[in-house]
């Protein structure tokens, strides 16, 4: 349990650093650390497959692309668009409303009892695969169609429109 609290603290600490870091590249690096703590959370939950996939997909691929893009566009103080006071005030009000909503909803909820897994080895590759491909085959396949449609959309956006003459 203590490990959980320590890792949870690290997750929150790094995610706060993500939004307070001045330099966008530093903030991506903190985001990478945040995702790494998520991987440790999954391992603590005995979900090895999810942990390693989170590691490969998020830390190894998606965040590399984030970093890649940020390094290319080269954000710095001069190129950053100046925000008007109106936007700042609107942001403060919006943030306060969000905070109030969250506090209210947390107060309304009681503390939930700790979840006990029926089968602690559910997160191992073999069991996860059996569940995914037997009980949840249809949603699993449909989600792959969803990914395909996203890919087709991206290709469509990237192709140049033919010249209309």
């Amino acid at each position: 349990m203590n490990t959980f609290y320590f890792i949870a603290f690290l997750s929150i600490f790094f995610s706060i650093l993500v939004i307070t870091a001045k330099n966008p590249v530093h903030s991506i690096l903190y985001l990478i650390l945040t995702f790494f703590t998520f991987t440790i959370h999954y391992i603590l939950l005995n979900a090895q497959f999810l942990a390693i996939v989170n590691f490969i997909v998020y830390m190894g691929a998606i965040l590399v692309l984030f970093l890649y893009t940020l390094m290319l566009i080269n954000l710095n103080k001069e190129s950053e668009p100046a925000k008007s006071n109106l936007v700042k005030i609107a942001g403060v009000i919006g943030g306060c409303c969000f905070l109030v909503t969250i506090i209210a909803s947390i107060k309304a909820l009681g503390a939930s009892p700790a979840v006990v897994l029926k089968d602690p080895s559910l997160g191992l590759v073999k069991n996860l695969g059996k569940v995914l491909f037997n009980e949840y085959l249809l949603p699993f396949e449909i989600s792959s169609v969803l990914l395909l449609s996203a890919m087709v959309g991206a290709v469509l956006l990237a192709t140049k429109e033919p010249k209309t003459t």
Partner: protein, 343 residues
């Protein structure tokens, strides 16, 4: 876990760590000797007999050179880059099975640091993490050539990771497990996976060249275009770490290839040898065989380096996306059809 087990694991980690560093060190020597052989020269021959102390001299030189951190570089990340590169290179060896279980007296020693049931994916994760060292170092140098090198490394690694992953999927369909220990055990004797997955191995070795930034895919440090690539601004041991991590990566990827496709510590007639030498010596012969395979792969890496010229950048991307990925997908489909037909 008992105390003796922990001590044994600790010693094992220490030995593996030492071996990978020593092999990386002597890979630099082997590379220079092999290059000399290919170009009809003598190569390093001054430090010690046949120049075998050359790596020590190089190491000493690296340590004694002046540390330079450019004024406009971001200090912490500039140091974090090479550290990350060498760390990710070293942690990959944790899941590789180095031999069968060793029995000394009543003790059974597992010649593998961690037998996790997602071993293949762990290797894959470590490989994908390797690019951060190059990217962070290249960006933190605050130099255009370094940045270009870092960006090339990132796009190259991501492109070739895809076909590497696809080639592994076909292998996993054959083996049916993600644990490297089980994959090695399935290849007992001469049932090596290369017999079932020749195309997959071809894809894997091409991707391994690209992931370790070796020629013909060493575009991130292409000195004719980018001065020194991502390590242009580095000097002293920080540069040494980058160069060293490349050799460690080469060693680890050779070990992975030997384990996944070339039978790991298995060799024809191993049962006979094991029965005649006993459980304390027999597994060590298997380990020696594994290292022989690894050395052959390292030699192959160097052979290719001094034979094939560097690719152009668009050729690299064409090869990755238009040839390797379709080939890998076709390999998966054919493997699937064959497995279904046999069953």
């Amino acid at each position: 876990m008992e105390l003796t087990d922990i001590i044994v694991k600790f010693i094992l980690v220490f030995i593996i760590f030492a071996i990978s560093l020593v092999i990386a060190m002597y890979s630099t020597y082997a590379e220079r000797k092999i290059a000399a052989f290919f170009q009809d020269r003598i190569g390093p021959n001054r430090a010690g007999p046949w120049g075998i102390f050359q790596p020590l001299a190089d190491g000493g030189k690296m340590f004694l050179k002046e540390e330079i951190i450019p004024t406009n570089a971001s200090g912490f990340l500039f140091i974090a880059g090479p550290s990350l590169a060498i760390m990710t290179a070293c942690i990959g060896s944790a899941v590789i099975p180095w031999g069968q279980k060793l029995t000394i007296g009543s003790h059974v020693i597992d010649l593998q640091v961690a037998d996790i049931n997602v071993g293949v994916l762990y290797i894959f994760g470590v490989v994908s993490l390797g690019v951060y060292g190059v990217m962070i170092g290249g960006w933190a140098s605050n130099n255009k050539y370094s940045l270009l090198g870092a960006i090339r490394a990132a796009s190259q690694n991501i492109s070739y990771e895809i076909s590497m992953g696809l080639s592994i999927i076909a292998l996993l369909m054959v083996t049916g497990t993600l644990s490297l220990r089980q994959i090695a055990e399935q290849q007992h004797g001469w049932h090596w996976n290369i017999l079932y997955q020749p195309v997959g191995f071809l894809l894997f070795i091409v991707c391994a060249f690209a992931e370790t930034n070796r020629t013909p895919f060493d575009l991130p440090e292409c000195e004719t275009e980018l001065v020194g690539g991502y390590h242009t601004e580095y000097s002293s041991m920080k540069l040494g770490f980058y160069l060293f991590s490349e050799y460690i990566n080469m060693f680890i990827s050779s070990a992975v290839m030997a384990t996944l496709y070339w039978g790991g510590y298995n060799y024809p007639g191993m049962d006979w040898v094991l029965a005649h030498t006993g459980p304390a010596i027999g597994p060590l012969i298997g380990t020696a065989v594994l290292f022989a395979k690894i050395f052959l792969f390292i030699f192959f890496f160097m052979w290719v380096r001094w034979t094939i010229p560097r690719f152009r950048y668009d050729q690299l991307m064409d090869l990755g996306w238009k040839i390797l990925i379709p080939l890998a997908i076709a390999n998966i489909v054919i493997t699937g059809i064959v497995i279904t037909l046999i069953k």
